[in-house]
């Protein structure tokens, strides 16, 4: 008898049960936030270090227009690769990202309700908001907030953005970032990420997180630490930086234009994202010295700031 056939009609199918399947957790969060007015987006189609890099957060956090979005974002941290040997660390993992602008007064309560929705019993588990201020030097961004603990484990990051791309947020957006693998390990009661049940099924139908990602972790660790062509990467970094600047310049409104709008903010920002990821790869390869490191971060930040400034001259950024 297959696992699918076993479930009672009242309970969710195990394939969709957030406490039984990784995908169920993800789908439950999407549904939860969709019901609260968020547009549910798909992952951005570029390599990023965190969900915050998605233009739906970085750029949409800027300017006066209200915005509510939720999405899953694969996040790449080349340095965190462990060749599939560490039960908690991955160079590719999923973040679930929610951004609400302006931050609603009941954001903490909404967050707690979302935990309930994925099966965390708040009468049984100790959920705490522990100070953790967020800062991204590469994005020129910072905010105040907490890491959210469930029984001593950090399961989410909760931030009120104060500044993004060097620009003060007005109004302030609230950002929630769920570490999906950690949360799933918690609700499934699993000690090793690769043992997570991905599809919620049992027996031969069961697909684990390791079935999906173990080989990828091994191969990408090799790539990140040993094989990535650094000479090419240095070149690509410069190319992305130059292209970003060129697009920013080309998109500037013409002098005396009727509607002084920037016309290439989004493509320029793509190049900024690209430069940031290439920097992370070079960093993982260990070819950037301590002093150079700072200067690379500053170069990406300059791009991010310029992109933010350009975005504010677009319709999305609220330009009149």
């Amino acid at each position: 008898m297959s696992a699918l056939a076993q479930h009672s009609p009242a309970a969710p199918s195990p394939a969709l049960d957030p406490t039984r399947s990784f995908q169920g957790l993800l789908l439950t969060l999407q549904r939860f936030w969709a019901e609260r007015g968020c547009v549910v987006l798909q992952p951005y189609d570029m390599e990023v270090g965190a969900g915050t890099f998605h233009p739906a957060t970085t750029l949409r956090a800027l300017g006066p227009k209200p915005w509510k979005a939720a999405y899953v974002q694969p996040s790449r941290r080349p340095k965190d690769g462990r060749y599939g040997e560490n039960p908690n660390r991955l160079q590719h993992y999923y973040q679930f990202q929610v951004i609400l602008k302006p931050s609603p007064p009941d954001l903490q309560q909404l967050y707690l309700d979302s935990l309930r929705a994925i099966g965390v019993d708040l009468g049984l588990h100790d959920v705490r908001f522990v100070e953790d201020d967020w800062e991204s030097p590469t994005l020129g961004a910072w905010g105040l907030g907490w890491e959210c603990w469930c029984d001593g484990m950090e399961v989410s990051q909760f931030t009120y953005f104060q500044q993004v791309a060097g620009v003060e947020c007005a109004p302030v957006a609230g950002e929630l970032t769920y570490g999906l693998e950690r949360l799933a390990m918690y609700v499934q009661g699993v000690e090793n990420v690769y043992d997570l049940n991905f599809n919620g099924l049992d027996g031969e139908d069961r697909i684990s997180y390791g079935d999906v990602f173990l080989q990828a972790e091994q191969e990408y660790s090799r790539h990140n630490f040993e094989h990535a062509n650094t000479e090419m990467l240095f070149r690509h970094f410069s190319d992305a930086e130059a292209e970003c600047k060129a697009l920013l310049a080309a998109g500037e409104p013409a002098a005396g234009a009727n509607l002084p709008r920037h016309e290439l903010a989004l493509p320029a920002y793509d190049q900024c994202i690209k430069a940031s990821h290439i920097f992370n790869l070079l960093d993982a390869r260990g070819v950037i010295s301590v002093t150079e490191r700072q200067s690379y971060i500053l170069r990406v930040r300059e791009l991010a700031k310029a992109c933010g400034a350009a975005w504010l001259k677009t319709a999305g950024g609220g330009a009149n």
């Binding site: 931050s103 903490q108 905010g143 029984d151 001593g152 109004p171 302030v172 609230g174 002093t291």
Partner: protein, 803 residues
Amino acid sequence: MPDLLLELFSEEIPARMQRKAADDLKKLVTDALVERGLLYEGAKAFVTPRRLTLHVAGLPVRGRDVREERKGPRVGAPDAAVQGFLKAAGLASLDQATIVSDPKKGDSYVAIIEKPGQETLAAIAEIVPAVIRAFPWPKSMRWGKASAAGASLRWVRPLHSILCTFGAETEDTEIVPFEVDGIVSGNVTHGHRFLAPGPITVRRLDDYVSSLEKAKVVLDADRRKEIILADAKNLAFAQGLELIEDEGLLEEVAGLVEWPVVLMGSFEERFLDIPGEAIRATIRANQKCFVLRDPATGNLANRFILVSNLAASDGGVAITAGNGRVVRARLSDAAYFWQTDRGSLPDLDTFAESAEKLGLDLAKPLDQRMAKLDKLGVVFHAKLGTQGERVQRIAALARELAPIVGADPEKAERAAKLAKADLPTEMVGEFPELQGLMGRKYAELQGEDTSVAAAVEEHYKPLGPSDRVPSDPVSVAVALADKLDTLVGFWAIDEKPTGSKDPYALRRAALGVIRLVVENGVRLPINKLPEYRIVTPDAGPSATSFRRDVTVSDIDHIDFGSMIENVSNDYFENIEKEDLELALNFVQRQIEVDDFQREVDESVRSRYRIERIEASLGLINSHEDLLSFFHDRLKVMLRDQGARHDLVDAVLGEGASANDDLLLITLRVAALGRFLDTEDGRNLLAGYKRAANILKAEEKKDGEGAFAGAADLQLIADAGLIEEKALAVALAQATPKAEAAVAAEDYEGAMAALAELRPAVDAFFDKVTVNDPDPAQRANRLKLLNQLRQATRAVADFDRIAG
């Protein structure tokens, strides 16, 4: 007398900010009340993660009436003066003013302004919003819709509600009405976030506290601490274990819960192979849990204490299990660090050059880490070079200091070279507070000499006035070298502590040097410290013509800038302070011009030049300056130990810069203190003061130095009184004795010699009139007193002793 109750209810306040916020709230509100003449009987502030609360007891219902008299012009003064007076006093016409008569000045107008006292309620309604808007959070934020506007309210985290009631004990209280950024004051609060989230209507402090307690909120942070500590100890005791107390952690966890529930978890025994300090550090830093020890062995137990914020429906089983899982994951990381740090680094071949330079053995793990630290070029301070360069300096200095402190120079140098080697280890990278300690463990494991391994840990000591001072000579040598390198270095680049700012903990380093020297009996003349050289990357060619070319008159015509740019740092060390100051002045003016003309690159270059000139100036000033810094620290230390710091001044005398031996200064101060505690000492001091006062008064008449030189002994023999003769003899005997004793560093002997003077001095003042009508007698007696002053100066400057 009515009370005020104020509660500011917000999202979770960072634990580290809570206590100060409560103090600030109390101070700001009560100060503002007092400023308006509203005195109170008592005030107390409380804080939990979600609320800041203030209770002010015994306020008046309203402030006192104020009556003010404002003087105006005299009667019949010009109209402009009268109009000005009326306007200032707020009067409609002179009819409202009073006329006062003064027999000397005539009649003039006076306005009597009577202000009725303000209702306290109204005063609070003004004070509290102002305090909230200007609250001194270390970090604050904006939030929500209101943040679209520029000047929205800032708070540490979103502020949700304000409870503010006022009223007497026997009556119903009133809500103090005000509004801050859309938040309207009220009389409602909420209980525990999960256990009792419903609204609670509040009247005053006592029902507030008891309602909150019922709603699972312990308002008082100190009570939460007591509960946590007592429950933790009980849980530990029940398992035959002992809680390792940790006040900092206790304070923090009490700031993370409103309803503390203490639970015990465990981890696998195999993790106990990890050094106990590392286990404690990881459990403390990452999980904010306490560790326990087995009282029989003193070793850590495989248990931990966690403090949750929830009385869970399963009694805490799930919470304990969850925390245990995280602790195990963290300990797995620590075990991995512990293992990795003891193994070889993968990229050894790239460290060969560094190993060669520092004389390291790349077969040993800790040597590899030091080589890596050097290779990475990690900067210690932009103007003081890299960690590798610093270690080289410390090693050379430790070797040099070794014979002075009785250490083997080889061992001292070896220990210095390994002292910072644990910085790039995984364990110290994760837990910086374990620096030194891990280095020692790794040093022991690779078979270093016991003293060398101990010095790797102990060279950071003493870390404060109560920390232990190392006594192993190798540790003393490296500890001194480390601290002196830091002090001399930061002095040379002019990064000295100012006021409350001491970012590099230089005061602590100086105190450390003093304690190392004094408690180990080390003779270390500060002025003879090795010359310090600043390591900067690009020293240009030396320009020998620099001095010759510059004069004050042509300073504006010379291309000073390019000259400075070509001058190497070496060169700066050999030129005069005045020239450097001229150069500095010139470049500073140049920057103003550059900035004005927006020559950004040029301005940046000039700033770099200034840094270099200032560094050189710092070098010139540094040694002398550093010595007086040591003297100040010594005074602070002796004062903290209960000694009289005026005695330090007295011992240092006028030629303070010559007194660069901290140990001798301390010994002298101690001997002087003991002497002054004796009858002889006290009397001699009194006699000295009397002599000095007479001399000062007479020197004013006859001129400074009028009584220098030896007294005429013949005159004393022929015409002097017996007491005068006795003093002359005593001085002739005691002075050389005291001087010889000081020279031999026998301070007790010097004091004893001075003590011999006392009977003669006492008798002299008893019987002899100094200001004799005979000018020759008078001058001779004053000379005698001057000799007494000189004799005491050999030991200390008695003028600087109080009393």
